[in-house]
């Protein structure tokens, strides 16, 4: 029964899992680098500016409606069926010395997924978009032959972070920015495919985790909205955020139009806050999420705000406690994240792999 030509199942699986990390390690060696895995992912170290300072908030309601949406009837024409989320994890794995500076090398996982819900059960819509990347600024690499050889790799994408400022930290930030670009690209690709197919049923809405403020409206559909967890972002008139902190549970704030003020396309969208849940010892931002959607008129925006708020308040159950930020996390989004995370090596695996000389 022996079969020496075959790897055992365990060995084969392990080898496949380590394969692309091994190739990155080889490449790093060939360009004269050394391993230096970071403790945290770069997204935790560097905040990428999302451009909110270029947007202004314009309230279309004078004050919140004062409705407890937990008690409101649910509209039949708005059903939450699709849930989308992206994954981005950029990890510093090594660096090399070139032209007088230390140049970082990153390992980045970028991906996006849509889950479809039917009869309270979930399944993956089509298939998740997932990319594994090794990122470095090409213009700091002398050994072009190494890059060329690596560019043909089918499993790991070699990405130029295009960092031009010859500073170690700036090059790290450039890597995170590039990773975000890739992530948004994958998200956009998947959402567009959805919009052209199942997204045509306008009763079935998609909830997307993240922000879409700077996405051109033509790329978004009418049955689509985004949920952002961060309350404060530097809008031009961010003082309008302050009253949102007093919203009671299951209430929404006033609807505001967001307008891009520095470009030719104002990309007008509508946004409002919803208090998903509260707790006696919670901080003012507890359970507060911001919803963004498109509408053709202010009246339609208000109607949509009411409809979507009712539906999103329903999603407060089941809770995702004790997940990080569970107060703002709805269960389908947690499931999206679990799914994506299950498909990639853990950050501990990556870190420990590169924690060797």
């Amino acid at each position: 029964m022996s079969d020496v030509e075959h790897l055992t199942g365990t060995a084969a699986t392990a080898a496949a899992g380590r394969g692309h990390l091994s190739r990155i390690f080889d490449m790093l060696s060939e360009i004269g680098g050394r391993t230096s895995p970071g403790d945290q992912i770069e997204e935790s170290n560097f905040r990428v500016r999302e451009g909110f300072h270029n947007f202004r908030l314009e309230p279309i309601e004078k004050e919140p409606p004062g409705i407890d949406f937990a008690e409101q009837p649910r509209p039949e024409n708005v059903q939450l069926v699709y849930f989308a989320r992206a994954l981005q994890r950029t990890q510093l794995v090594g660096h090399f010395y070139q032209k007088g500076i230390e140049v970082p090398v990153h390992y980045a996982i970028t991906g996006s997924i849509i889950l479809e819900r039917a009869n309270r059960k979930f399944k993956v819509w089509r298939k998740p978009e997932l990319r594994t990347n090794v990122m470095l600024p090409f213009n700091f690499v002398d050994r072009r032959d190494v890059l060329e050889r690596f560019q043909g790799d089918s499993q790991v994408h070699l990405v130029n972070t295009e960092g031009d400022r010859a500073e170690y930290t700036q090059l790290r930030i450039a890597a995170v920015k590039k990773a975000r670009e890739l992530t948004l690209g994958l998200r956009s690709q998947l959402c567009s495919a959805w919009g052209l197919s199942d997204g045509q049923d306008l009763k079935k809405y998609m909830a997307l985790s993240g922000t879409v403020t700077d996405i051109p409206n033509k790329l978004l559909g009418p049955n689509f909205f985004a949920i952002a967890r961060r309350v404060y972002v530097p809008w031009q008139n961010s003082e309008l955020l302050e009253p949102q902190l007093t919203l009671p549970p299951y209430h929404r704030g006033q609807v505001m139009r967001t307008v891009f003020t520095t470009g030719s396309d104002p990309m007008p969208k509508f946004t409002w806050f919803v208090r998903l849940r509260s707790s006696s010892q919670a901080d003012p931002e507890f359970g507060l999420v911001r919803i963004t959607c498109l509408a053709d008129s202010d009246q339609e925006a208000i109607q949509k705000a009411n409809d979507i708020t009712g539906r999103i308040v329903d999603e407060r159950l089941p809770v995702t406690f004790p997940a990080d930020g569970w107060d703002k996390l709805i269960f389908p989004m947690k499931l999206c994240n679990d799914f994506l995370e299950s498909m990639v090596p853990t950050r501990e695996t990556v870190k420990s792999y590169f924690a060797r000389n």
């Binding site: 029964m1 022996s2 079969d3 819900r117 089941p318 809770v319």
Partner: protein, 581 residues
């Protein structure tokens, strides 16, 4: 997958038609080892249950077989508090818009792998093992092919396949191993029925293959359990689903649905009703036996409890035995006559001792021997009744002797059992005896009475049993013992059994050492195991197997009503001597 079949080196070992039922995974908390692995069960597969035999196909195309020993249901709930909150702070009627993900995880104890290396599997697509695969995994293929397979039941896998399970006769009735022990609570008609089924299976297979010559001696220790082995089971006149399934099992196991042939039943003599026996069976089929004093003289001390037969009595009995041999005294009546004379002599005032013993000790011994005929009426010849022995020389290949000793008390049963057992043992040892059998299967219920684990309980034949259990396999003696609680059986008797069967067992019993090797879920399942199902441990199997067996072909004695049980007094008579001394 190619043509609907998985990519593996041995596709015939899998049920590819049913399709994959899950995938093996190894996690930090539940890492796979060489002894077991875990797999999650595919959505929509709801037929995996404890005891199923599955096959995991690894990337290299090899298969690892295992038994499902644990099933866990996992929901995406971190703790009860979060679920409580998810139900709007404790309202069970709340139905959130999303159902929490729920998966089933199975733990598999590895039976065998097609790969020679002993190492854990990581990933592997899991299927139900095909009957052929189960056969290979359990190692049955070789001995079944050589005609040594004795069907004991079927394993019903999760894909509804009925897999015949065979024991290796060399490990059931010798010489490699021998003996079977079965435990389980009473009242489920499992233990006796299974032994009847197994005996049918053994005899039929052995006679068909002509490789072994096997006879059987069964002891009926209670009621009518084993008295009607030759009567067809009326259950098979029914047409209900379970009976039909039983028929299917006989088909799968290739056993004929006929009652036993060549059955002889023996019981102690009943002097009150000429020609009758102390048996519940009254159709004239039962033959009587009764022994002369000389036949049981060595066994007499075992018929009394310690209080009645203490060391001083035992010392007196040595001299009594001496006289029985010297004079000689051949009958019980002669013994009593002689004892009376001795009593008369000893009663004289100037005589203080009887053959060096205190007079009181002699009187006590004589009193015991006086009582013997009354206590064991029907077993000892008195009043001119001629001795009739159980004709063990008539045993032959395929024949069954049922010795009905239900009318005797425990000590009487023990004495008869031991006597027959040692006689057959001697017959098998003696190369000069002309006999038509090589092996004899003994069946005794309530084995705990004969070989108790408690050293403080008097069990005169325990050592003899241990000796037979240790050496019997090479001689051809196979003991099928049954009891309610295995923990009450001497460890050596159990350990020498190559086949151990567990029926439904109470939780307290399951906490004893005898069951500690079983996984917790398997143990727990034993508390609820349904009728006709048992857990089988066989010397050739790496893992225990859950089996089912059909109704036996003979009528269960406790369900049989004879038409002619006319005289109620006779029934009473059959009970009359089952007194505890």
């Amino acid at each position: 997958m190619k043509n609907g079949q998985p990519d593996c080196k041995f596709p015939e070992y899998l049920n590819g038609k049913f399709g994959p039922i899950g995938k093996a995974a190894s996690t930090r908390d539940y890492p796979n080892t060489a002894q077991y692995f875990n797999f999650w069960i595919s959505a929509g597969v709801d037929s995996v249950e404890l005891g199923n035999i599955v096959a995991a196909v690894t990337d290299d195309g090899h298969i690892t077989f295992g038994t499902v020993v644990e099933l866990r249901s996992i929901m995406d709930i971190e703790n009860f508090l979060s679920d409580y909150i998810s139900h709007d702070f404790g309202d069970p009627n709340v139905q959130p818009p999303s159902d929490l993900a729920e998966i089933m995880i199975a733990k598999i104890n590895v039976i065998r792998s097609t790969h020679e290396r002993v190492r854990p599997i990581g990933r592997g697509i899991v299927y139900f093992a095909s009957p052929q695969g189960v056969g290979w995994a359990l190692g049955m293929g070789d001995y079944v092919a050589e005609g040594r397979g004795v069907p004991i039941g079927v394993m019903e896998n999760g894909d509804n396949s009925l897999v015949p399970i065979f024991l290796d006769d060399e490990f059931l009735i010798g010489p490699e191993g021998s003996h079977m022990n079965m435990s389980g609570i009473s009242g489920l008609a499992t233990k006796t029925s299974l032994v009847e089924f197994l005996l049918k299976s053994i005899l039929e297979k052995m006679i068909k293959t002509e490789k072994r010559r096997v006879a059987a001696v069964f002891f009926n220790v209670k009621g009518k359990d084993l008295l009607y082995l030759d009567k067809p089971n009326p259950q098979y006149e029914e047409d209900d689903p379970y009976t039909n399934k039983c028929r299917q099992m006989y088909d799968v196991l290739a056993i004929e649905m006929t009652p036993f042939e060549n059955v002889r039943v023996f019981a102690p003599y009943d002097r009150k009703f000429e020609g009758h026996t102390k048996s519940f069976r009254r159709d004239g089929k039962v033959e009587h036996f009764i022994w002369e004093l000389t036949e049981i003289v060595e066994d007499i001390p075992t018929l009394f409890d310690e209080e009645s037969w203490d060391e001083s009595v035992d010392a007196v009995y040595v001299d009594v035995k001496d006289q029985i041999e010297r004079q000689p005294i051949v009958s019980y009546d002669q013994l009593i006559e002689w004892l009376n004379e001795e009593r008369r002599v000893v009663s004289q005032a100037h005589i203080t001792h009887w053959r060096g013993h205190e007079k009181e000790d002699f009187y006590k011994t004589a009193k015991n021997l006086d009582a013997l005929a009354g206590l064991y009426d029907g077993l000892i010849c008195t009043g001119g009744v001629d001795p009739v022995d159980i004709p063990l020389a008539d045993l032959y290949n395929g024949s069954i002797f049922v010795i009905d000793i239900q009318s005797l008390n425990d000590r009487g049963q023990m004495m008869v059992f031991n006597k027959i057992l040692t006689r057959v043992y001697s017959m098998l040892l003696d190369k000069n005896v002309d006999r038509d059998f090589d092996s004899v299967v003994f069946f005794i219920d309530e084995l705990n009475k004969f070989a108790p684990s408690d050293p403080n309980v008097r069990a005169p034949i325990k050592q003899s049993l241990i000796e037979i259990c240790a050496r019997g396999r090479s001689i051809g003696v196979s003991l099928f013992g049954v009891e309610q609680f295995m923990s009450q059986i001497d460890r050596q008797v159990v350990d020498n059994s190559s086949t151990i069967i567990y029926g439904r067992t109470g939780p307290a019993e399951l906490m004893t050492d005898n069951y500690s090797w079983l996984d917790q879920d398997m143990r727990d399942r034993l508390t609820t195991v349904p009728r006709g199902t048992f857990l089988l441990k066989h010397a050739k199997f790496v893992q225990p197997v859950w089996c089912k067996f059909p109704f036996p072909t003979c009528v269960p004695g406790d369900q049989y009503e004879e038409e002619d049980i006319s005289a109620e007094v006779e029934t009473e008579s059959a009970f009359a001597f089952r007194r505890d001394l």
